[in-house]
């Protein structure tokens, strides 16, 4: 029993953090918000150089062959720096899906090396999301159809842009027709793959939400240390202190839940779905509270476009309802907790 990350995992996390601190400053995020695609080729290359696109691609395909526990640390950083969806969708979710296709499927060999190199983007359409992020910028679409997996080029589908309050999210409604030639995998094999994809997406967003919560807390702290009212920093008022302390507590007790879910995914544990949903709910609650409290301590400034806080709040609000909203995840937790044969209480944590 050891609930810590090893030094190599932490070093990898630190390297990502250092890299993003320089390359993903808020000014830069604002800049790409304004572009038509909302995406930067430059960043994509840099993320690949950093190895982020290769984390879980198997070594034979040019990747590092790592897993969910490495990703979970990276995802927190992606959240903290509000990195757009496509990296997660391509390098984490799509990679897992491709890896698990029935042995020797051409699609895996075709796309995994390109993903590892950072030269391919993949978007995933699943009915739990009414829209698919980044579909137009993708090189390939992977689509759910009654538990089958289909693959299309974006040009083969009709894409309708739906603007999100989070300008880093380019959402598309996809209208398409499944055909025999688009089918990659039948429902009997697809079911388990989609199931895990859904869990993995939930885990990814939980980790990002923890990262976002930390960022909003840090922005709230920065503001309240620097902003003066009544002749002293607003952060010296007890009400402001307690607003921030509450957020810190929520984050502290969301993080281990997320790590536990990552472990369950990495090991393919039978109860991974409930761990993921618990993680999503805990992380979502932390992010929601962080947004509420941080805008409050920012005062009017927090309500502006020019304060960086808005970018992180909007991202948190959007991600919290993506890949299963709160109702979805609460229902999964309830199914476990209220199952008469569930083993609850002490001695059943692991």
């Amino acid at each position: 029993m050891d609930f810590t990350f090893d030094d190599q995992q932490l070093a990898f996390r630190d390297a990502i953090r250092k890299f993003l601190m320089v390359e993903a400053a808020p000014e830069w995020l604002r800049e790409i918000w304004e572009t038509r695609s909302g995406r930067s080729l430059d960043l994509r290359t840099k993320l690949a150089d950093q190895g982020l696109t290769a984390i879980s691609v198997p070594e034979p395909h040019g990747g590092m062959g790592l897993g969910d526990l490495d990703w979970v640390l990276a995802q927190q950083e992606l959240g903290y720096y509000a990195i757009p969806d496509s990296l997660n969708d391509t390098a984490y979710l799509a990679v897992d899906l491709l890896k698990r296709l029935p042995a020797g499927h051409a699609l895996a060999a075709q796309w995994l090396p390109r993903i590892a190199q950072g030269t391919a983007r993949i978007a995933i359409a699943h009915p739990v999301n009414p829209f698919t992020a980044d579909a137009e910028n993708a090189d390939l679409l992977l689509l759910w159809h009654e538990d089958e997996i289909h693959a299309l080029k974006p040009a083969q589908a009709k894409l309708t842009l739906n603007e999100s309050i989070d300008m880093s999210r380019r959402l598309y409604r996809i209208d398409w027709t499944p055909t025999a030639s688009s089918r990659v995998c039948d429902a009997s094999a697809g079911r388990a793959i989609w199931e895990d994809l859904l869990n993995r997406a939930g885990l990814a967003l939980a980790a990002q939400l923890v990262g976002l919560a930390s960022r909003m807390l840090d922005l709230g702290i920065d503001h309240s240390v620097n902003r003066k009212q009544f002749g002293k920093p607003v952060g010296s008022f007890q009400a402001v202190k307690h607003h921030m302390a509450d957020v810190a507590v929520k984050i502290e007790f969301a993080r281990p839940v997320v790590y536990r879910a990552a472990y369950a995914m990495q090991k393919g544990q039978a109860d991974r779905a409930v761990h993921v949903s618990h993680a999503r709910l805990a992380a979502g609650e932390a992010a929601r509270l962080a947004a509420r409290r941080s805008i409050q301590v920012h005062g009017a400034m927090g309500y502006t476009w020019e304060a960086d806080l808005q970018m992180f709040m909007k991202r948190a609000w959007a991600l919290e309802a993506n890949w299963g909203d709160r109702s979805f995840h609460k229902a999964r937790v309830a199914a476990h907790v209220l199952d008469p044969v569930a083993e609850l209480g002490p001695a059943h944590t692991f």
Partner: protein
């Protein structure tokens, strides 16, 4: 106690209901934080004024109808029930006007109020400064007396509506040797005066709902001052009471939101019931909106019997602003993955309005004195706890 409307009140309600049914635009206006929307809303104010409905509690000779607070509440109920446009001139009609009625000269009332009532002058407020947000007494903007004028220098910020409004009102330091809440004067001035620069500030939704106003030796006639020179603080405190309290946030607004929330929940129960917190929030929304309405009727009745607005200004501010956030949070939960859609997105049917309302609700606990300040006020002035 008599909780039935009089025949006169019922007749008034029917008149309003009929008029609104005939006149409320079928298509929602654009946001008044756009140039086009601002013009649409000004035209709507003019139309209201044509039916003497823009400021029903004012005296008839100033453009009102001389109605009492109960009738005002009735008007508001019908107004929100009809989904009529937001009031672009609310800073003027609900904040400045009560102040002018109480502290302005007859000449000032005649000069400003009728043009406010008919939408000729749309008003912005200019309270805050970059170093004086919640701490309003830290004002540094100067108004130096020069004969029958003041010369203004400095800047104001978070001035709502200032991007397209015609006039603004605010506090300025007319005694350079003074500090804190002494030596301030309450001035009204056109936003088109020479020396004024407006820097629009984009809000969360990307629209310039407020602005920073820079004053570079702006000359304002002294007869634009409300009350005595140096007495601005007391006058402004009365206005702040109106802002927080009874007048700005009429209960009908929240009752209408609660009703819309109930409808939204009913339409989405298949998914929403998986999260029991949603149902609980919906029931609470209805209860709290009713409670707010009841409390407002109680205050209005007390005022009608000669009472004064007291700590209600602060308790109301906290209650309505937290209620508004809770209701919009509940709506966002119900909408789930669709909640993030911008209102103009092609697939945003059934989503319109809630996101913008949610963003706007977040400003509630901040503006007009943060809720933290209101809690201090309640504790110290209403409950008698010692100052720090």
């Amino acid at each position: 106690m008599r909780l039935e409307y009089t025949e006169r009140q019922k007749a008034f309600r029917k008149e309003i209901r009929d008029w609104l049914a005939a006149h409320v635009p079928k298509e929602p206006l654009r946001s008044f934080d756009t140039e086009e929307g601002f013009a649409q809303h000004r035209a709507w104010e003019r139309k209201l004024s044509g039916a003497s409905l823009s400021a029903v509690t004012w005296p008839r000779d100033l453009g009102g109808r001389g109605l009492d607070l109960i009738e005002w509440l009735t008007f508001e109920e019908e107004y929100w029930r009809a989904n009529a446009p937001l009031r672009v001139n609310q800073n003027g009609i609900f904040l400045l006007a009560p102040t002018l009625m109480e502290h302005g000269t007859e000449e000032q009332k005649k000069r400003f109020l009728p043009r406010m009532a008919d939408g000729s002058d749309i008003w912005a407020q200019a309270w805050s400064e970059s170093g004086a947000g919640s701490d309003m007494a830290a004002i540094r903007c100067k108004a130096v007396r020069d004969g029958d004028h003041y010369v203004l220098s400095g800047s104001k910020i978070w001035s709502t509506r200032a991007v397209w409004a015609d006039w603004c009102f605010g506090l300025f330091r007319s005694d350079p040797a003074s500090s804190r809440h002494h030596g301030l004067s309450f001035l009204l001035l056109p936003l088109k005066l020479p020396g004024i620069t407006i820097r629009p500030i984009k809000q969360l939704n990307g629209l310039p709902g407020f602005a920073e106003i820079f004053f570079d030796d702006v000359r304002v006639p002294a007869d634009n001052r409300i009350g005595e020179e140096g007495q601005g603080w007391n006058i402004a405190m009365a206005t702040a009471g109106f802002e927080r309290g009874l007048m700005l946030r009429s209960p009908a607004r929240f009752q209408q939101t609660a009703k819309r929330l109930v409808d939204l929940y009913q339409q989405n129960r298949a998914t929403a019931d998986a999260d029991p917190a949603i149902r609980d929030a919906v029931l609470k929304a209805w209860m709290d909106a009713e409670a707010y309405a009841l409390a407002t009727y109680a205050t209005a009745s007390r005022l009608a019997r000669g009472g004064q607005i007291g700590a209600e200004a602060s308790t109301n501010k906290i209650f309505w602003s937290e209620l508004d956030v809770s209701m919009h949070e509940a709506a966002m939960s119900i909408l789930g993955a669709r909640a993030e859609l911008m209102p103009h997105a092609p697939d945003a049917q059934g989503v319109e309005g809630w996101l913008d309302g949610f963003l706007f609700s977040l400003a509630g606990p901040i503006y007009a004195g943060t809720n933290e300040i209101q809690r201090n006020i309640i504790a110290e002035r209403m409950l008698g706890l010692p100052r720090a």
